[in-house]
């Protein structure tokens, strides 16, 4: 079974440009999450989808970030326009429906974003 896959693994863009990160969760996982870790900081929650619906987007830093999950399968996270402070690692994760009790959250390898 394939794990959570993320693309691209690394991206270097200039300030003001747009970047779109993609996440393919484990097949059959209704829950999909985005987290990020900026340099020297903790891994922070961004948002949570249940199928195609945003369950919790309280961690999204500002309106330059847009997450979608059309059809409840893969998800994209767009940063537009990118700023220097957006540099970091963006993790996607997924889990089966029903919460963490007995349902492990599986993480991808992350997308490294560098804004110059």
């Amino acid at each position: 079974e394939a794990g959570v896959t993320q693309f691209p693994s690394h991206s270097v863009i200039e300030k003001g440009q747009t970047v779109t990160l993609r996440c393919d969760p484990i097949s059959g996982h209704d829950n999909l999450y985005w987290y990020r870790r900026v340099m020297g900081k903790e891994i922070k929650f961004l948002l949570h989808f249940v199928k195609e619906s945003k369950q919790d987007e309280s961690g999204m830093p500002n309106n330059r970030f847009l997450a979608e999950r059309t059809g409840g399968t893969y998800s994209t996270l767009k940063v537009q326009p990118a700023e220097l402070e957006d540099s970091g690692v963006y993790f996607c994760a997924s889990s089966k429906r029903g919460g963490p009790s007995g349902n492990t959250i599986y993480f991808g390898e992350g997308s490294w974003l560098t804004v110059v």
Binding site: G3, V4, N31, Y33, Y35, K41, E42, I43, K44, F45, H48, D56, F91, A93, S95, G99, P100, S101, G102, T104, I105, Y106, F107, G108, E109, G110
Partner: protein
């Protein structure tokens, strides 16, 4: 809101020596507790989790952790480390009522020396 503190940012340890990684949390409600590991160039992998029951939890790769409610701690231990345990370790909590949202600590880098 919860917070998680990992008291050591880096822990150097010799091969075959024991290691303990400290984690303290703060929360006004009951929480689930987790330890994740990130090996070089890989994603986060679950080591173990505490949901309920026995406070001593055993995980993969010989790791175990003990939940101490009175001290709000969830320290991770391994009696004898290997070179392959070199990685970054993250403690995390989630509110039982809130489901899946994880709050992470800052991470502890373990460097195992031969």
């Amino acid at each position: 809101a919860q917070s998680v503190t990992q008291l050591d940012s880096q822990v150097p340890v010799f091969e075959e020596a024991p290691v303990e990684l400290r984690c303290n949390y703060s929360s006004s409600v009951s929480v689930y507790l987790f330890w994740y590991v990130q090996y070089p160039n890989q994603g986060l992998q679950l080591l173990l989790k505490y949901l309920s029951g026995s406070t001593l939890v055993k995980g993969i790769n010989g790791f175990e952790a003990e939940f101490n409610k009175s001290q709000t701690s969830f320290h991770l231990r391994k009696p004898s480390v290997h070179i392959s345990d070199t990685a970054e370790y993250f403690c995390a909590v989630s509110e039982i009522a809130a489901g899946n949202k994880l709050t992470f600590g800052g991470g502890t880098r373990v460097l195992v020396k031969p």
